[in-house]
Amino acid sequence: MNLEQQIKQAMQQVAELSDCTLVEPIEPNTLLLECGLDSLGYAMLVAQLEEDLGFDPFTELEIDIYPSTFTEFLAIYQQCANNQ
């Protein structure tokens, strides 16, 4: 499973846990805040991905700009994965 699939799977898990419905399909330019997860959902997603992947880019990287779209979110994880 590649990183994108792992993130989408974790999003699904968090959505089920939080009684949220994800939008279908999530496109590269879909705004994160319109994916169906709220702010608590994203914090849960980051915590879940930390367990799955072993890192949390929001803590480890000095992120200049917060991600707005799915592509930007994925890029931050990709960058952190490359640094590991």
Partner: protein, 438 residues
């Protein structure tokens, strides 16, 4: 001592309140407040519970009753009022005010009373705790100037909570405009902020991160940026400072219990260590042996804090601090209270709910650090039959969803072998090492 109304009467009447698609000038609210008092003389010197309907009515009630009533209780919806005789405002049509319990009337009826303002904070058991304040203590840090008058504030907190009331009073007493923007989702909130050309915002660091995530914050022209309600970390302060280099950036440490608010405006997390022991500040600060922040305000604190007050008058805020590189940094609550994006969660309350699940032996709830929300709620549980882990987790989640607010529900439930207790039998809250089964 002046009442809220008297202070407003001495200031320019330029402010406008914008709420629910309507707007109302502060001069109009002052007029309505006068009418309320005229029509309800029986409310003089009484204790009033102000319920929340909308921003304009709420502010009108504050103006009408401060200096006129003995006490006002700012009641959040669904929160039970204290067990005492209170008149509920707005009055319902069928209510008859019992005059037999009225306190003796002040002979000079135009005198301004020292009204006690009571505000609720969530207690450990889920029951609210009420803390007493006064208009003068609540407005100690509010200012008026030409510059401040030109601002347009957004109200992102509920106005009957401490942080929200601070924003309301700041906007009112600086004669600025105030837009009610509480309880909006980030994208809708962003649209509202842009539409009303908001220039001043006070929000939690978590909410600021969400606004940054919209990618649209730069489209506003923010001049005043305030962070409060949870610990402001250097990362969010730096991002906001980069985006709005000319804006006034402040983070506030406030304690609802003591009514104390500290304002830090140098753009760095925590506050300067030189502030400790500085008696020229409105609040004298000290760090205890247990690394708790102690405060000694210039005004009287609520009598319910006596147990937390030492002989010199310092109140233990129960906030743990660390001194590093000449800064006093906040580390969290010593009580174990978890701050999820500005919402308080009491671990004991969540543990009680978890233990309602018959398959759970023990439960321990604690915080997991989150770069986005400050902290998340996590639970360790021990269960009777380890073969049923998934089933128990689902069952307990169902119980939680029925009884807890969303931010209180554990975001992760770990099944562990054992939960450490200290010698007195209490859960050891200092160690959060999980020994997971799964």
């Amino acid at each position: 001592m002046q009442s809220l109304e008297q202070q407003l009467n001495n200031l320019p009447k330029t402010g406008v309140m914008i709420y629910e698609g309507e707007s109302c000038a502060v001069s109009e609210l002052l007029k309505k407040a006068g009418e309320i008092r005229q029509q309800n003389p029986q409310l003089r010197q009484r204790d009033i519970a102000i319920g929340y309907t909308n921003l304009a009515e709420f502010v009108t009630a504050l103006i009408a009753f401060d200096g006129w009533c003995s006490a006002i209780y700012l009641c959040p919806p669904k929160v039970p009022t204290p067990q005492k005789e209170l008149i509920k405002w707005p009055l319902s049509a069928d209510v008859v005010v019992d005059n037999s319990i009225r306190k003796p009337l002040d002979p000079i009826s135009s005198d301004v009373l020292q009204t006690t303002w009571y505000m609720a904070t969530s207690g450990t058991t889920g029951q609210p705790k009420w803390f007493a304040h006064s208009f003068s203590s609540l407005s100690i840090s509010t200012k008026h100037s030409q510059k401040l008058q030109a601002l347009c504030w957004a109200l992102l907190y509920q106005p009957f909570r401490f942080a929200g009331l601070q924003v309301v009073l700041q906007a009112l007493l600086s004669c600025a405009d105030l837009v009610d923007a509480a309880d909006y989702e980030p994208l809708a909130l962003m649209a509202r902020l842009k539409h009303h050309k908001v220039t001043a915002i006070s929000a939690t660091p978590s909410l600021w991160r969400q606004l940054l995530m919209t990618g649209q914050l730069a489209e506003t022209n923010l001049k005043h940026i305030t962070l409060g309600g949870e610990i402001a970390d250097q990362s969010v302060l730096a991002k906001l400072s980069r985006l709005f280099p000319k804006a006034k950036l402040r983070h506030i440490y406030a304690s609802t219990e003591t009514g104390v608010g500290l304002v830090v405006s140098d753009g760095l997390a925590g506050f300067p260590a030189q502030w400790l022991g500085d008696s020229s500040l409105p609040v004298v600060l000290k760090v205890s042996d247990k690394q708790h922040l102690l405060v000694k305000p210039s005004f009287h604190v609520c009598h319910s804090l006596t147990a937390q007050t030492d002989k010199q008058g310092y109140v233990d805020t129960q906030d743990t601090v660390e001194i590093k590189d000449n800064r006093v940094l906040f580390m969290g609550r010593s009580t174990g209270t978890i701050n999820v994006g500005g919402n308080k969660v009491h671990p004991e309350k969540v543990e009680q709910v978890l233990l309602q699940c018959p398959d759970i032996n023990q439960a321990k709830v604690y915080a997991k650090k989150s770069a986005l929300m400050g902290a998340l709620v996590v639970a360790d549980i021990t269960i009777i039959d380890n073969d049923d882990q998934q089933q128990v987790k689902q069952q307990v989640l169902k119980i939680c969803k029925n009884q807890l607010q969303r931010f209180e529900i554990p975001t992760k439930i770990n099944v562990v072998n054992d939960i450490a207790h200290d010698p007195s039998g209490k859960i050891n809250r200092k160690s959060n090492g999980k020994q997971q089964h799964d």
